[in-house]
């Protein structure tokens, strides 16, 4: 991102005599952010400049366009990833394995954590963790959406 776009000095000048209101925008340093530097061309004759400038309000503002860009891109990728994962869980997963997720009751966190050690390979552990998480979500879904016990 071009860095010089990240500062501006914005002067708002209200209607004055026969001039309508106007907004001036300029890329200057904070020190130069005054009406005299930013309002160009000056719409009033010399002796009125001071009075006109008294009415204008100049504000120096900074932003970080990089932050904005990065935030939006991260946000979109997380949403995208979640949607893909959701589709995977909805469509692909049931085809791979067929078992009833409702059979086993929900463990407590401690129990599940100790259970996590049971898997042997990394893949199995991940698999196990995923299964436990899915069960938890199902339990939550039952509580919130079906039985309306919480959060209604």
């Amino acid at each position: 991102p071009r860095n010089f776009e990240d500062v501006r000095c914005k002067c708002i000048c209200p209607p004055y005599r026969n001039n309508s209101g106007h907004i001036y925008n300029k890329n200057v340093t904070q020190k130069d952010c005054t009406c005299l530097h930013v309002v160009e061309p000056m719409p009033v004759p010399g002796h009125d400049v001071e009075a006109y400038c008294l009415l204008c309000e100049c504000k120096y503002e900074e932003r970080s366009s990089t932050t904005i860009k990065v935030t939006i891109i991260i946000y979109l990728s997380v949403v995208g990833a979640l949607l893909l994962y959701m589709l995977f869980l909805l469509l692909v997963d049931p085809l791979i394995r067929k078992h009833d997720p409702y059979t086993q009751p929900l463990h407590n966190e401690e129990d599940s954590e100790s259970a996590a050690a049971r898997g042997n390979t990394v893949l199995e552990r991940v698999e196990g963790a995923q299964q436990r998480w899915k069960k938890q979500v199902q339990e939550q879904r039952k509580t919130v959406f079906d039985r309306h016990k919480l959060l209604s």
Partner: protein
């Protein structure tokens, strides 16, 4: 309070058995036990620290881990809040169009450096293209309007659909505002997963979607939940907080302050909010840390600078117009309005939520969200004040018109010539013009719309906060009244009440202030916040001079609302869901005694007790199996009923289970012994099972004649889970938190079985 008496059998730093001392889901923690565990742990560390340098370092790092944790919570919550602000702003503007110089810019930032903005239409620049311009090539005419309208509805539906589907798929706990649940959790309830990783991710993501879809909801309440999730996750980094539910709740209480701090840019207000509204057990101890965390969060947010103007919230205002004592009358009027609206809103919303809970409406959460979103979009688009987001609307309403403003709300008739000696840019004489009258009509419609739609929106299965919609309702009402007063004063300078302070040429009434007061009044009516609300509004405006108007309105609003029903919206939702929450602010008024509340009641079978050395393992197992109590008193003997201690069902089961597996010779006929000194063992009998280590030797007791108000006070102040009842030194019965809640429900003529408990 584990029975590690003077003999110190158990090392408090490591539980003898995994599972002993932990809680099941949907259970209440025992504050006294947790606090005692933490003190034991602390004592241990202090003692060790005298022995070696490593241990000393460990003790120092342990002491400072709380501060480090607070720092991390502040940083993380501040960063997340900044991200949410940026993303929500962008997505909201995406409903209207897209930025050509970089799709990631929102409308304002797209035109940030543009020189083509005009005084009248400040947000117009060629880089930003509305959907009509992109699709049809023109931004004028009926066709372009319809295209924009349809695109607006499309995006609204898409966002809300994504929000609800993500919540349903990954983290159902992420829906709602979260404040009632957090209040309950802070009071000691356990909801596993409510403050977990997935809840955090999904709540953050879907909050942005929900806010952007144009639904009548805000991000302030959910931000509290987000901050609490951060705190809970970060707690796992520190042993001190990971293993202790009471200590963790101290952190959560500070996190609630952090949430409000970033939501409103009000660190002091946030701390007071946490103190007044959500915290339960330890208000003072965490005051200073909460404040620290709230400040860190506010500064993180400011350094992210999401709005590009160094403000933490969109609707920050800074005006210093004076107000006159007579104006207190309209302010109190606004307070009455706010109180009435609060009561009506709570009643209507609770009725609707009950309907959702009990009827078929609750079976179609996704369709419900889509229908409400479509309805909102359809009705909101034609009116510019409902089309913009809630925060923008509030910002516009709070703003006081100066010569620099060109919005419709400032559409006053321009005086013939602006006086040159006039100080600053204020408008002095202000007759309403054409533009303002239009705006007033639109505002009146927006008011009705917001009032109705918020009732059915709050409680849907998307993250939804209530602060912004309530404030919007109040701000509209306040602005309407303010403009009305202003015009009244303008046309009637000579009335007695206006004479003296409203002379021609003087700027005497500030409609923006009325909007602010109205917002505070409505928010106060709905949530029943008092000090924290005033302080939040004071920090929003940065001027001490408006504390009195704000306070007058808030106080009136609370009194009016309390006259019709004492619960705020969060308490009402807690009751609707039957969470086991013992309200700390309400006094227990009834004159019942402990004996009226305790179990067993007259006529019930006697209390299930264990004896300290007379029962076999089998008998104990049978007793435990045939009852569902979560703990059992231990007495000297069935005859004397003299109390020795209390043992928890979970600890008992785990210990017996463990002993049967690991300990040699423990069979069903083994005697269970709770005494300190093992009795002499007969030669051929199986070995004793010694369980004194899991026995709580200091159970709380009250006498049967203790008035319930005192008992309730003890439960609240000490955070008890159960309390034993004695008469003349003999054990008579037991009172649990559930019994108390049921008793209170009975007194209030509610269904006592609605209390949620494991």
């Amino acid at each position: 309070m584990n029975g590690s008496g003077p003999t110190k059998l158990v090392d408090p730093l490591e539980d003898p058995l995994p599972g002993v001392g932990t809680y099941e889901d949907f259970n209440t923690i025992d504050w006294v036990r947790e606090k005692s565990k933490d003190r034991d742990r602390h004592r241990e560390i202090t003692n060790k620290s005298r022995q070696s340098t490593v241990a000393l370092l460990h003790s120092v790092s342990d002491a400072f881990s709380g501060w480090l944790l607070m720092l991390l919570v502040g940083l993380m919550a501040g960063a997340l809040a900044g991200g949410i602000d940026i993303a929500a702003h962008w997505l909201t503007d995406l409903k209207g169009g897209v930025c050509l110089i970089g799709f990631w810019f929102n409308h304002e930032h797209c035109c940030w450096t543009s020189n083509e903005t005009t005084f009248q239409e400040r947000d117009r620049c060629p880089q930003w293209q509305s959907w009509a311009e992109l699709i049809t090539g023109t931004s004028e005419g009926a066709f372009a309007y319809i295209v924009n309208y349809l695109m607006y509805i499309f995006w609204a539906l898409l966002f809300s659909f994504l929000a609800v589907i993500l919540v349903r798929a990954f983290a159902p706990y992420a829906c709602g505002s979260g404040i009632p649940e957090i209040k309950t959790i802070l009071s000691g309830f356990i909801i596993r997963g409510y403050l977990g990783k997935w809840t955090l991710i999904i709540k953050t993501i879907t909050l942005v979607l929900a806010v952007s879809s144009g639904l009548s909801l805000g991000k302030e309440g959910p931000l509290v939940h987000v901050a609490c999730c951060c705190a809970n996750i970060l707690c796992h980094l520190f042993t001190k907080y990971r293993k202790n539910e009471a200590k963790r709740r101290e952190v959560l209480s500070a996190a609630a302050a952090v949430g409000v701090s970033v939501a409103f840019g009000a660190p002091i207000g946030g701390v007071l909010f946490s103190l007044e509204e959500v915290s339960y057990y330890f208000p003072l101890k965490t005051l200073w840390r909460s404040f620290f965390a709230a400040l860190v969060a506010a500064f993180t947010l400011r350094s992210i600078n999401p709005f590009g103007n160094s403000r933490l919230v969109l609707f920050y205002v800074e005006f210093h117009a004076p107000w006159h004592l007579i104006e207190l009358a309209p302010f109190i009027l606004l307070g009455i309005f706010g109180g009435l609206w609060g009561v009506l809103f709570i009643k209507a919303n609770i009725a609707w939520c009950r309907r959702r809970k009990s009827t078929r409406l609750g079976h179609y959460p996704i369709i419900e969200v889509l229908v409400v979103a479509a309805l909102t979009a359809l009705l909101a688009y034609p009116n510019s004040y409902t089309r913009m987001s809630g925060a923008e609307l509030i910002s516009e309403l709070f703003n006081d018109c100066s010569l620099l403003d060109s919005s419709q709300l400032c559409g006053y008739k321009q005086p013939a010539n602006v006086s040159e000696t006039g100080v600053g840019n204020s408008l002095a004489d202000r007759p309403a013009g054409e533009g303002l009258y239009t705006a007033l009509w639109q505002l009146a419609l927006a008011l009705i719309f917001k009032m109705l739609i918020t009732v059915i929106t709050f409680g849907m299965k998307v993250p939804s906060g209530l602060f912004i919609p309530s404030m919007a309702v109040g701000a509209i009402a306040g602005r309407l009244l303010g403009v009305g007063m202003e015009q009244l004063a303008y046309y009637n300078h000579d009335w007695l009440i206006f004479r003296g302070w409203c002379s021609p040429g003087a700027d005497c009434i500030t409609p923006g202030l009325y909007a602010m007061v109205g917002a505070a009044a409505c928010l106060g009516g709905v949530t029943r916040m008092t000090v924290s609300l005033v302080v939040i509004m004071f920090e929003l405006t940065g001027g001490l001079e408006y504390i009195v108007p704000l306070m007058a309105a808030t106080m009136t609003s609370k009194w009016v609302a309390d006259a019709f029903g004492r619960e705020g919206i969060y308490e009402a939702h807690i009751r609707l869901n039957g969470y086991p929450f013992l309200e700390a602010k309400e006094e227990f008024e009834h004159s019942s005694l402990a004996v009226d509340v305790m179990r067993p009641r007259r006529g019930d079978p006697a209390l299930a007790v264990l004896t300290q050395d007379g029962m076999t393992v089998e008998e104990v197992e049978n007793l435990v199996e045939n009852t569902h109590y979560s703990g059992f008193p231990v007495v000297v003997s069935q005859e004397s009923q003299r109390l020795v201690g209390f043992v928890l069902r979970r600890d008992l089961l785990i210990s017996i289970d463990n002993a049967r597996k690991r300990q040699d010779g423990i069979v069903g006929a083994s005697l269970v012994v709770f005494t300190e000194h093992t009795p002499l063992q007969p030669p051929e009998a199986p070995p004793f099972l010694r369980l004194r280590s899991i026995l709580d030797l200091s159970p709380f007791t009250v006498t049967d004649h203790t008035p319930m108000d005192i008992t309730v006070d003890i439960f609240r102040k000490l955070g008890l889970r159960q309390c034993l009842v004695t008469h003349n030194g003999r054990l008579l019965g037991i009172i649990t938190k559930k019994d108390i809640l049921k008793h209170m429900a009975q007194i209030a003529n509610r269904d006592p079985d609605s209390i949620l408990f494991n």
